[in-house]
């Protein structure tokens, strides 16, 4: 025996050592020089898997049932093959989402479901409690074992009588110590995402001690007490040939089904036991460490298991085949043979195994309890304190202690009766229940919250019934009749032969039924339900966690590079000006800014990402992406208004996620530029679906009828509410909304005020409704209405805000559509003008007739707006010429066509008609009907000149009077003759006059574009100035005279172009 004092002192010293190491590691971390952030420490800390259950229990198992202790280590070795894509994925996700526990992981995956988090926490606590009890049991039992007299632990001794008086409870003291240690290193700070380096360092050291102690004991027993492996096997098989099944598989003790079940359970539990998850995932500091841990961790397990069978068989040999104390052979054999120091080392190793497990487990569980059970209650109670962090950290500390003492309680009540391995496996099976929800969630997009929750709950219920209940029965807690006869005496419900499934060991039986219900419900319900939006989003993030992030590499140019300020403006709309500026200066910090004060083009994509992330913090990831993409796509267009509308809403931050998403979705529709009717229908559809309105209607003002006319309608058919027009009157809610340009609503139609509306509303069974004016540039143009039959009080202040914004978006869509309409109209007009212009220019003479003694020139300068100016020279006979100038009112194709007709008429008839007066008369008669029906008229001046006689005959139909500049007198004459404008009166007689021209005389024909050209003061150019110009430039040829006149007119108006068409014809007699 070893003195109690010595064992206690060494234990406390060892405890102190652990504490120092942990403290040192924490200090190093604070100094920024981490000692635990390397793959050796990571691999060692993973060996927290190796608890006192396996430290002692493996040998016991090997001695009693044989090789079935191995699957517990072979399973983890196998699953380690998958770590590079399974564990690494979990680590990546946890880091990105700031996940702090396995409950957090499950809840995050399924849309941050608080319910799932709580379910996982409760099950984890219940499932792990036996396991903690087991550790306490091992430590206290080995302590007693070490300190009792040697003869009391000899072969055949079943009952250990502790040397300590009964009032000292070793297990209690151990629980206290472990709890305190957990508090010291697991709950010093509140930030759970902060890694606990001190704890990890202590665990790693413990793992080292464990393996050294166990291998030392193994080597001592194998080579000290025996002559190596072969010696042990030989002696065992000679002495106990009937126990050769211990070295074989497939017998009654270790069936293949059990072998498989245990492998599977171990594979799952090494991943999903809360403490394994904590150490492997949360405490991982670098993904690269996983790669080495993939072989180091299995190697550790191999080394420690190498000696399990020799120790077990050696123990049997030395204990005359007695398995009563097989669980503690490792400790007992050195003790029996008087190697007390070795026994003490083994005790410390076993103590390390227990302590490590309890500390990590209690920290992990208390984090889960705090976050998923206590926190929701605190939030619900709305504890009003400036800072509740002090309260929270203390709650976490209490949680750690509580978890340890729950284990202690379990140990006191149940623990003594069950073998170590059995208790451990119950917890393993509990951890395996998390596997479907987690693995399914990592690789299966369709997995839903409902599926995960039901699967978990069913799995745990079956686990409880098929494993925990039998363990209660065995410890005498429950009546054993349940085991034999089943619940309510139904044989089908026997816990170990559920639904009549017999012939299996307890583990395979439980594994089959738990997984049957767990996986079955998970898959079936997931297939039947749809993941919610947030769930889908989270799920995609989890599933695609390891995919290379394309946006990181994508550095393509954004066309039309936006400026930094544009991004700032965009952010300002959502997070406020101050925050936006702070964010951007933070971002720019040390980045390169070129000389123009803008970012290099390659920085822009990352600025875009930054903006997206910043927005995501306030509106969620998906809307942020939509906003950014739409913004960039529509930048500089009128769609920016849509974003202005967002801004006013999101700034309030009170709107729910669902409501915001509706707003973003509708904005996307407006920005899509689809057909107006499609946009309106889509928006109404969205409202009906998302807010469960029974009817949504858009009515627009019809200017002619002065009523509101239904433009789009979705939901139930109601001829009155949904289809009929509305007068603009203050008697109805909709009229009021339009006329006052404000939202009107009735949240409970039992208290409706306007009698005109009440009747119809009640008839249709409407419970609540609202109307919001649709405006363009602030002026109402229509009303957006929503009706609900079921929900009263739906129009809260916040919802009305949203409703108003939807109406505003409809307004933007309308305005966009109208602008587009106008644009199309203008384009068509322009096209028409072009046609008219082509016709007009095509009518003008391309050739000037060659008549001796005459020099002619004519020019038409079309203005922007096409006119109906026209001039022509017609040579009917030799030395004979007709000149005409005309102006058709109206500036369209019609005018141009009339002009073309006129020209054709003149060309055809001029030869046969004797004089200008008759020609005019004929034109007037011929075109009168056409001109009156098209509301057009023509002014025209027609001259006929006989070059031989130098005789000029002319007639006028209301045109500007041509000028004759007489070379002899150097002054002007106006040619005038009576006559009405063409197209005013059917029968008109046109006066015909004549004059004779002398050589040196000049004739000028012009249209009103010249004389009515205005200067800046509004004065007309007039014919006086024309006359002067004719005199001034009389020596120039006709072409040059025209040039001079046009230049002078341009000078006069001070502009290069003319407002109206300008036409000039000059004839010089020589």
């Amino acid at each position: 025996m070893i003195a109690v004092e010595l064992v206690a002192a060494i234990s406390v010293l060892y405890f102190g050592l652990l504490f120092m190491v942990a403290y040192w590691a924490d200090k190093r971390r604070e100094a920024g020089r981490s000692v635990t952030s390397n793959s050796y420490i990571y691999s060692l800390s993973l060996a927290v898997y190796f608890t006192s259950w396996t430290f002692y229990g493996s040998v016991g198992r090997a001695a009693t049932t044989g090789l079935d202790f191995l699957p517990v280590y072979l399973g983890p070795t196998l699953i380690a093959f998958s770590w590079w894509f399974l564990l690494r994925k979990m680590v990546r996700i946890s880091k990105e989402h700031n996940i702090v526990s396995i409950a957090d992981f499950v809840s995050s995956r399924y849309g941050k479901s608080a319910f799932l988090g709580a379910v996982v926490t409760i099950f984890a606590v219940i499932g792990i409690m036996p396991y903690i009890a087991l550790q306490l049991k091992a430590v206290s039992h080995t302590f007693d074992l070490l300190t009792v007299l040697p003869e009391t632990v000899g072969p055949g001794v079943k009952e250990l009588i502790p040397v300590l008086p009964p009032y000292i409870d070793t297990a209690f003291i151990v629980a206290l110590f472990l709890g305190v240690f957990g508090v010291l290193f697991g709950a010093r700070h509140l930030d759970a995402s902060e890694r606990h380096e001190g704890l990890v360092a202590a665990i790693a050291l413990e793992s080292l001690v464990k393996i050294v102690a166990f291998v030392a004991a193994g080597v001592f027993i194998t080579y000290g007490l025996f002559d190596g492996f072969t010696d042990i096997f030989q002696r065992f098989l000679t002495e106990y040939p009937e126990r050769e099944h211990l070295l074989l598989l497939g017998g009654s003790q270790t069936s293949y089904s059990m072998w498989f079940s245990l492998t599977f359970i171990s594979m799952m539990s090494v991943m999903f036991l809360p403490r394994q998850f904590h150490i492997m995932v949360i405490e991982n500091s670098n993904e690269e460490h996983i790669r080495d841990a993939m072989w180091r961790f299995p190697a550790y397990m191999f080394l420690i298991n190498l000696f399990v069978i020799p120790i077990a068989l050696g123990g049997l040999l030395l204990n005359q085949g007695d398995t009563g104390n097989a669980d503690y052979f490792v400790l007992q054999l050195p003790l029996q043979t008087g190697h007390l120091w070795l026994a003490l080392l083994v005790f410390i190793g076993g103590f390390s195994a227990s302590a490590g497990m309890v500390m990590v487990e209690s920290v992990a569980l208390s984090t889960m309890i705090l976050n998923h059970l206590v926190m929701p209650v605190i939030l619900k109670l709305r504890i009003q304190a400036a800072d509740i962090s002090g309260l929270l950290i203390n709650l976490k500390r209490i949680g750690i202690i509580a978890v340890v003492f729950l284990g202690y309680l379990y140990y006191r009540i149940i623990g003594e009766s069950y073998a170590l391995v059995a208790i451990g496996l119950i917890s393993f099976m509990a951890a395996a229940q998390f596997a479907p929800a987690i693995i399914g969630g990592l690789f299966w997009r369709r997995a839903t919250r409902q599926g995960a929750a039901v699967g978990l709950i069913l799995g745990f219920m079956v686990w409880f019934y098929t494993l925990l209940v039998p363990s209660f029965i065995r410890s005498g807690w429950l009546d054993s009749s349940l085991l034999d006869q089943g619940l309510f005496g139904l044989a089908l419900l026997r816990p170990l032969e559920l639904f009549g499934l017999t012939g299996f060991d307890i583990w395979s039986h439980a594994l089959f039924w738990t997984m049957f219900f767990n996986v079955g419900a998970f898959v079936a319900i997931s297939v039947m339900t749809q993941p919610a939006g947030s769930e889908e989003e989270q799920g995609a993030k989890f599933i695609d966690a390891l995919l290379p992030q394309p946006e990181v590499l994508e550095r393509k140019r954004i066309s039309k590079a936006p400026t930094i300020m544009e991004f700032v403006d965009l952010m300002t709309k959502f997070i406020g000006e101050k925050q936006a500026h702070t964010a951007i200066s933070h971002y720019l910090g040390d980045r390169e800014i070129d000389e123009r004060g803008s970012l290099s083009e390659y920085e822009l994509p990352s600025l875009k990402r930054f903006t997206e992330r910043t927005l995501a913090g306030s509106v969620g990831a998906a809307p942020a992406r939509i906003i950014i993409e739409n913004y960039l796509a529509t930048r500089g267009s009128r769609m920016e208004d849509v974003f202005d509308i967002f801004g006013s809403v999101t700034l309030s931050r009170t709107a729910s996620r669902e409501q915001l998403s509706v707003l973003f979705e509708s904005a996307r529709m407006v920005a899509s530029g689809a057909d107006l009717q499609v946009i309106l229908d889509d928006i109404l559809d969205l409202m009906v679906q998302q807010f469960k309105f029974d009817l949504c209607v858009i009515r627009l003002l019809d200017d002619d009828k002065n009523t509101l006319v239904v433009t789009a309608q979705k939901g139930m058919t109601s001829s009155h509410l949904g289809q009929s027009e509305r007068n603009l009157s203050m008697d109805t809610y909709i009229g009021t909304a339009f006329l006052t340009n404000s939202v009107t609503m009735v949240n409970d139609t039992d208290y409706i005020e306007l009698p005109a509306s009440a009747q119809i509303i009640h008839r249709e069974g409407i419970s609540s409704f609202a109307h919001a004016p649709i405006t363009i540039e602030g002026d109402p143009v229509g009303v957006l209405s929503a009706f609900s039959r079921s929900a009263k009080g739906i129009f809260t202040e916040e919802f009305v805000e949203l409703f108003k914004n939807l109406a505003a978006q409809v307004g933007v869509a309308l305005r966009n559509a109208r602008q587009t309409g106008r644009l199309i109209e203008a384009r068509e007009q322009e096209k028409e003008m072009q046609i008219a212009k082509t016709i007009q220019l095509g009518l003008l003479p391309t050739r000037i007739p060659d008549i001796p003694g005459l020099r002619l020139a004519g020019r038409c300068v079309p203005a922007r707006q096409v006119g109906g100016d026209y001039y022509d020279f017609l040579s009917r006979r030799e030395n004979n010429i007709d000149l005409l100038i005309a102006d058709v009112s109206g500036h369209n194709i019609g005018a141009a066509l009339i002009m073309a007709e006129t020209r054709t008429f003149i060309l055809a008839r001029a030869r046969e008609l004797a004089s200008p007066g008759l020609i005019m008369q004929a034109i007037n008669e011929f075109f009168y009907d056409d001109l009156t029906s098209t509301e057009l008229f023509i002014t025209m001046f027609y001259l006929r000149y006989d070059a031989d006689l130098r005789h000029l005959t002319y007639a006028n139909a209301g045109h500007n009077l041509p000028l004759i500049w007489r070379g002899r007198s150097a002054c002007c004459e106006r040619l005038d003759a009576e006559g009405l404008i063409l197209g005013v009166k059917r029968a008109v007689a046109f006066e015909e006059r004549s004059t004779t021209l002398e050589p040196g005389d000049q004739l000028l024909l012009y249209t009103d574009g010249i004389t009515e050209a205005e200067d800046a003061d509004g004065n007309f150019f007039g014919d006086e100035r024309l006359c002067e110009l004719l005199g001034a430039y009389h020596e120039l040829p006709p072409e040059a005279i025209i040039d001079q006149i046009l230049d002078q007119v341009r000078l006069f108006t001070g502009s290069q172009g003319f407002r109206d068409d300008v036409t000039l014809v000059v004839m010089k007699v020589s």
Partner: protein
């Protein structure tokens, strides 16, 4: 390369599951001593380290390739 790696790991995993279970294990499940060791014990205690060795070799190879990739990338980067 990554896809290829993943497939190899899955293959190893499946191979491990097969070699650890019925009926494969049945081959070694015989009441025979080889070099003084029970055959099944020997199978596990030799097969296990071999599988660890494979993972070790493979992960080392993976690391080397990754480092080569990295140094390759650095070489490709143009100078300032």
């Amino acid at each position: 390369m990554n896809v290829h790696l993943k497939e190899v790991w899955v293959l190893f995993f499946l191979l491990g599951v097969i070699m650890l279970n019925y009926p494969f294990v049945q081959i070694f499940n015989k009441d025979v001593l080889v070099f003084g060791f029970p055959l099944l014990f020997l199978y596990f205690m030799v097969g296990w380290p071999i599988s660890i060795l494979i993972v070790f070799l493979f992960s080392r190879n993976m690391q080397q390739r990754r480092e080569e990739d990295r140094s390759g990338e650095e070489k490709e980067k143009p100078g300032p």
